[in-house]
């Protein structure tokens, strides 16, 4: 069946050519079937992607709506309430706002921390030191991307948290610690995508800028960055979506308080951390369990928002 057998067929000139009569009747039959069999395998694999996405969305939505439909929690008080006391025997309350707020706060703070360094690195790699950029920084970034998130969490736990405790008091487990750990974690992702988008800017623009006497910095700031525009933004938002979905690294350093944080030095919690912490201890079908699935649904929906934004930016970048 190997292509190589065509070569073998050539010297065996006596008798019939192997090329034509290689297979028996039955062999030819299976070969014809193999074409459609291959097609079936390929198409069903492709369909499996659709099935996976639809199943994830559908099942998480159904399970997430249970607390509103079956347990009759009020949707509005669920997402705006600030008190999460599900274990009180008398009048348990489910207010998820502190977690939604915590997730968004961690995401934006992380982007704030990561963006300048990441974009700076990207500019360095793509504009200033191209050789260094590809020889040294690219491998550095690839290794950073590969480091598992729990390791980032562990480093946060053993370096960032003690540092904050010493200099700002408190336990050191707080919102900014979480944002910092996640910010470092998304750095390489943002930097490598940003560098790619800067590299995609055509050289003629740079040459034009240099020709009218622009300095290197003026060229970068006024020409290259605006030209890369929306794809740079895509890089940042991709980083944010990763920060938003991170669970364990944040959980290890954020302090896991159920109250709304008053400052960035207060312990806090996010959607992912509360799910991580509580999901294992609840029984399926209990009120708390349903409420946690609703948190999961919110997580899924906000992730979809990120995906839609990224797609929108990508489309705009293409059409230009």
């Amino acid at each position: 069946m190997k292509v190589g057998s065509l070569n073998d067929a050539a010297p065996a000139s006596e008798g019939k050519s192997k090329l034509i009569n290689e297979k028996s009747f039955f062999g030819r039959f299976t070969d014809r079937a193999s074409e459609s069999r291959g097609k079936v395998i390929i198409y069903s694999s492709a369909l499996l992607m659709i099935v996976a996405v639809v199943a994830i969305t559908l099942f998480l939505t159904i399970q997430g709506l249970r607390s509103f439909v079956v347990d009759h929690l009020n949707f509005w008080t669920f997402i705006t309430g600030t008190e999460w006391y599900p274990d009180r025997t008398k009048n348990p309350t489910f207010g998820a706002f502190p977690f939604i707020f915590g997730s968004l706060a961690v995401t934006f703070l992380a982007a704030l921390i990561a963006t300048p360094i990441a974009i700076g690195t990207a500019v360095f790699m793509a504009e200033i030191a191209k050789k260094w950029g590809t020889k040294v920084m690219q491998p550095v970034i690839e290794i950073l991307v590969g480091i598992p998130s729990v390791v980032y969490g562990l480093i946060g736990l053993s370096i960032v948290v003690p540092f904050l405790r010493q200099h700002f008091g408190g336990t050191g487990f707080n919102l900014i610690a979480g944002a910092f750990v996640v910010g470092i974690m998304i750095l390489p992702t943002v930097a490598s995508i940003a560098a790619d988008s800067l590299r995609a800017v055509p050289d003629s623009l740079r040459q034009a800028s240099f020709a009218i006497g622009g300095t290197k910095w003026q060229t970068i700031w006024r020409v290259v960055i605006p030209a890369a525009g929306s794809s740079l933004l895509t890089a940042i938002i991709l980083g944010m979506s990763r920060a938003f979905g991170e669970a364990l690294a944040v959980q290890m350093v954020i302090g896991n308080a159920r109250d709304l944080p008053k400052s960035i030095l207060d312990p806090s919690a996010t959607l992912t951390t509360i799910i991580t912490l509580s999901m294992g201890h609840t029984t399926t079908g209990s009120l708390l369990n349903d409420a946690l699935w609703s948190l999961g649904l919110i997580l899924l929906l906000i992730s979809y928002v990120f995906i839609v934004i990224i797609r929108f930016l990508g489309k705009r970048g293409e059409s230009r």
Partner: protein
């Protein structure tokens, strides 16, 4: 301010950013390796974890990590490669194709904990697989599929058109051309991508928390019967992996040497990921040399 001065200042700031990035990597790797390698010993790698006492090792967790990785790859690679072949060779531009592309993108950008929750809902509860190696591997399959699909598609697209046309001109059918000409030619780049993704799967934790579980039965490494409940090969037993173990000992561990265990495990994890990275990189280089004929 003079534009030349601005130029100088701005460029030095950019240089600082890049230096900061490199410094972060070096200090992180240095911290993990220096702190961790001292706690790695033969004893640490070959003893089972102890829930209360000091001196526990990571034997079972390390085995589980590799075992879950292997099962995941067995499931992911065939499906992912076929999906990639579809997108590269069979997909006609149109609604269905763009929808499948969107789905791959969505799968790639879903948070891993969402994938873990889905795994818990479907594989653990609905299919009744409980916390097990298989549930974990299935969840990781969902998580890893889009990566393999992309890698395969890129590998196929990078091939020269002539190879495909040559096959078709010989009268081979499309599937036969793909199977016997294109796939072997794209194999090296796919393999590189697969190894890189293995590093990602190896370190994944959030998706495994609710699917592979937080505990591991006391494995008996003399019992290789896959049906035995304490056999390392049993795919229906719960399996705490190394990265989950790091998280678990840090959040709820009560043994006195939590720090040592966590640092040692992290070092093992990082070293494994680095090895995956190195293999992929070397493979890439060798293949590049072979193809460019140097």
């Amino acid at each position: 301010m003079n534009s030349k001065v601005t130029n100088r200042i701005a460029l030095s700031v950019i240089f600082l950013c890049a230096a900061a990035m490199a410094a972060i990597l070096l200090s992180m790797l240095g911290y993990i390796l220096v702190k961790g390698v001292t706690s790695i010993s033969w004893h640490f790698l070959t003893t089972s974890a102890s829930p209360f006492l000091a001196g526990g090792g990571i034997k079972d967790q390390l085995w589980n990590s590799f075992y879950v990785l292997v099962i995941t790859m067995l499931l992911t690679v065939p499906i992912g490669v076929c999906g990639g072949i579809y997108l590269a060779e069979y997909a006609k531009p149109g609604r269905l194709t763009s929808f499948i592309r969107t789905c791959v993108e969505v799968l790639a950008s879903l948070p891993s904990i969402v994938v873990g929750m889905f795994g818990m809902l479907i594989f653990v509860n609905y299919f009744g697989l409980k916390y097990s190696v298989l549930s974990g591997a299935l969840a990781l399959t969902v998580f890893n599929l889009p990566v393999i699909v992309r890698v395969t598609e890129d590998g196929f697209r990078a091939l020269s058109r002539h190879q495909k046309e040559g096959g078709l001109a010989l009268g081979l059918t499309r599937w036969h051309t793909i199977k016997t000409i294109l796939l072997p030619a794209a194999f090296p780049s796919i393999l590189t991508g697969v190894i890189l993704s293995a590093g990602r799967v190896f370190g994944e934790s959030a998706a495994l928390l609710f699917t592979a579980g937080l505990s591991s039965p006391d494995l008996d490494f003399n019992n290789w019967n896959p049906a035995a409940p304490n056999s390392p090969l049993n795919i229906f037993r719960s399996a705490e992996t190394l990265s989950v173990h790091i998280w678990a000992v840090n959040t709820g561990g009560i043994m006195p040497d939590v720090q040592t265990i966590a640092n040692g495990s992290a070092a093992v994890l990082v070293i494994s990921v680095l090895i995956f990275n190195l293999i992929a990189r070397m493979l890439g280089k060798v293949i590049d040399q072979k193809f460019s004929g140097k």
